[in-house]
């Protein structure tokens, strides 16, 4: 029995090496404090919760599909400790307003108009999402938003919430 557990741990380690999309980093997520509508949000203050950090813009078509999904995730897992923070990189606040009127957000929307945080997080494409665990480390990086990735991402959220 112990042999099986030992082997399965090694197997899991090998699987990690071959994981394509999931970048199992465990690198600490850069801290930030960004303005939101009226207040501020700081990553440090989210310690103890699982944070889904999403970089989005009004001109990003896949973001229109990601918002309803993020609303669903936030509603479903809020009580288990999930906090979604959607960081906007638009330079024109009027366009952001119009987008949010069409696709309302039930999660925190923060503003990074100059893209400084996007640069810190080395955003590789729009939209980009980062799953940060309760200890403040980036566990998953994901570029783009696709229908077929929804289930996988939800599973990743669930696992981080359970740890």
């Amino acid at each position: 029995m112990k042999q099986i557990i030992l082997y399965s741990r090694w197997l899991a380690a090998i699987l990690v090496l071959f994981t394509a999309v999931v970048g199992a980093h465990a690198a600490p997520a850069p801290d930030f404090e960004l303005p939101t509508d009226g207040k501020k949000v700081s990553l440090q203050a989210m310690r103890g919760r699982v944070v889904y950090l999403d970089f989005w813009a009004s001109w990003c078509k896949p973001c229109r599909k990601s918002f309803p999904w993020m609303n669903a995730m936030q509603a479903k897992y809020r009580d288990q400790g999930l906090q979604i923070i959607a960081v906007n990189v638009d330079s024109d606040p009027e366009l952001v307003k119009r987008f949010l009127e069409k696709y309302p957000a039930d999660f925190i929307v923060a503003y990074d108009a100059e893209g400084k945080l996007a640069e810190q997080y080395q955003v590789k494409g729009m939209p980009s999402s980062y799953l940060i665990d309760k200890q403040g480390n980036i566990q998953v990086q994901h570029v783009g938003f696709r229908e077929k990735d929804k289930t996988g991402m939800e599973t990743q959220i669930k696992h981080l919430l359970q740890n």
Binding site: V21, A24, R146, E147, K150, G152, Q156, H159, Q162
Partner: protein, 417 residues
């Protein structure tokens, strides 16, 4: 999967293995996306100083839908109806001239000192195009298309495939494409034998080489698109094409003249003959740039082929935003081409020819287009536009055919459904 006292590595492994085991790639159906329709109606009317020429009415419907993540289906239906007269290639003479129509069953006469035009041109054409665009990987996409068109004397069908890959954080895109078209020409009255005489009475029939002739067209394209800065995008393409088969215009003739320009002999009109192959190349460069809100779209193309034709095309569009979704876009296009090796305005008697054509479209030709488009875009992504343009074709060099001017008007309406 529960783990007690998780350490970061263990939790990373857990996340990784869980995602692997639970089968990440569940291809869910996309929520219903709308069909995007682009419709247009073109009206084109061409004339020279003496006569009206070809008139075309052409409706187009294009419909596109996203069927899965970044996967699109596009259909395009075109119908064009063409009526009017077209130059037959003969030169004006100081006496009236009589020609037979392509069917050989009637004749038409041109007045003295006027460019001979065949008035029997009327044709209707329907064309359909279907295209499937899909992502092949995160940075690669493929576009596959098929097309079919049918008109009274011409059928065309073809396939095309294009692959695009992004580099440098999607700032650079490399594109490669191939297309192949197999056409069949079924000229009215049969295809005349090249360089054989055109009868001037209905009693004599033209010599034909067949009634169903093939023409194949293959094209290869490579291109690079580069984001220059936040406001500027450029594209540079190189294309190579090969045409094979029956490439002549079965309805065009040329006049055989003496050194004073008068017709010679009993059969002064001969059917044209073009080579049965053509290799062509083009280099195309396009720039799109935004100033505050206005956009300039500028392109240049250099073309050359083994028929001796070389051309330059300059196209410029400037979109001026007027506010609240209204825009005005003036357009300018300038084109100049040098003639084909076998192009003759009038062919001197006694010349031994392998190929000859007096079709002004293969001669020294300068064209210019000046146009203006006015459009209104609305919040629901629908758009209405109207475009008017004047297109002038004039002979360059020493081919003195008259200027031909076309008036163009086009209505566009785009909407989602």
């Amino acid at each position: 999967m529960q783990l007690k006292k998780p350490k970061s590595i263990r939790s990373a492994l857990a996340v990784a293995t869980c995602s692997m085991l639970s089968g990440v790639s569940h291809h869910a159906t996309a929520e219903s996306t709308p069909w995007e329709f682009d419709t247009a109606l073109l009206y084109y009317a061409e004339s020279d100083a003496d006569n009206d020429r070809v008139t075309v009415v052409e409706p187009v419907i294009r419909a596109r839908k996203e069927i899965a993540d970044e996967e699109f289906l596009t259909f395009r239906f075109v119908f064009d109806s063409l009526t009017g007269a077209s130059a037959n290639g003969a030169t004006p003479q100081n006496t009236p001239q009589t020609f037979t129509t392509p069917s050989g069953e009637s004749t038409y006469t041109t007045n003295a000192n006027q460019t001979p035009l065949d008035p029997s041109f009327h044709d209707a054409r329907g064309a359909i195009n279907a295209e499937w665009e899909l992502p092949l990987s995160r940075l690669t996409k493929g576009i596959f298309s098929a097309n079919f068109s049918q008109e009274y004397d011409y059928t065309s069908m073809g396939l095309a495939a294009t692959l695009s890959r992004d580099f440098n954080n999607r700032n650079t895109t490399l594109t490669g494409g191939l297309s192949y078209n197999a056409d069949t020409v079924r000229p009215v009255g049969g295809a005349p034998e090249g360089l054989s005489p055109m009868p001037t009475t209905t009693a004599v029939k033209k010599t034909t080489i067949g009634s169903d002739l093939d023409k194949n067209v293959a094209d290869l394209l490579v291109g690079v698109t580069q984001v220059i800065n936040r406001n500027t995008l450029m594209q540079l393409n190189f294309s190579y094409g090969m045409d094979d088969g029956y490439l002549s215009d079965p309805y065009k003739i040329f006049s055989v003249v003496d050194n004073t320009g008068s017709l010679v002999g009993t059969d002064p009109y001969l059917f044209e003959k073009r080579p049965d192959s053509r290799a062509r190349q083009a280099i195309y460069w396009q720039t799109v740039h935004q100033f505050t809100k206005d956009v300039i779209n500028f392109s240049y193309r250099y073309y050359w082929d083994d028929w001796g034709i070389a051309s330059h095309t300059l196209d410029l569009k400037y979109r001026a935003e007027l506010g609240r979704g209204h825009y005005l876009e003036p357009q300018l296009r300038y084109y100049t081409q040098s003639k084909a090796d076998f192009y003759y305005f009038d062919t001197p008697d006694g010349s031994t020819l392998s190929y000859a054509s007096a079709d002004y479209r293969l001669g020294d030709l300068d064209t210019s287009t000046i146009g203006l488009k006015y459009g209104i875009t609305q919040d629901d992504n629908s758009e209405f536009a109207i475009r008017a343009a004047m297109y002038t074709q004039s002979s360059g060099g020493d081919a003195p055919f008259p200027d031909v001017t076309a008036n163009i008007i086009q209505f566009n309406y785009s909407f989602n459904f």
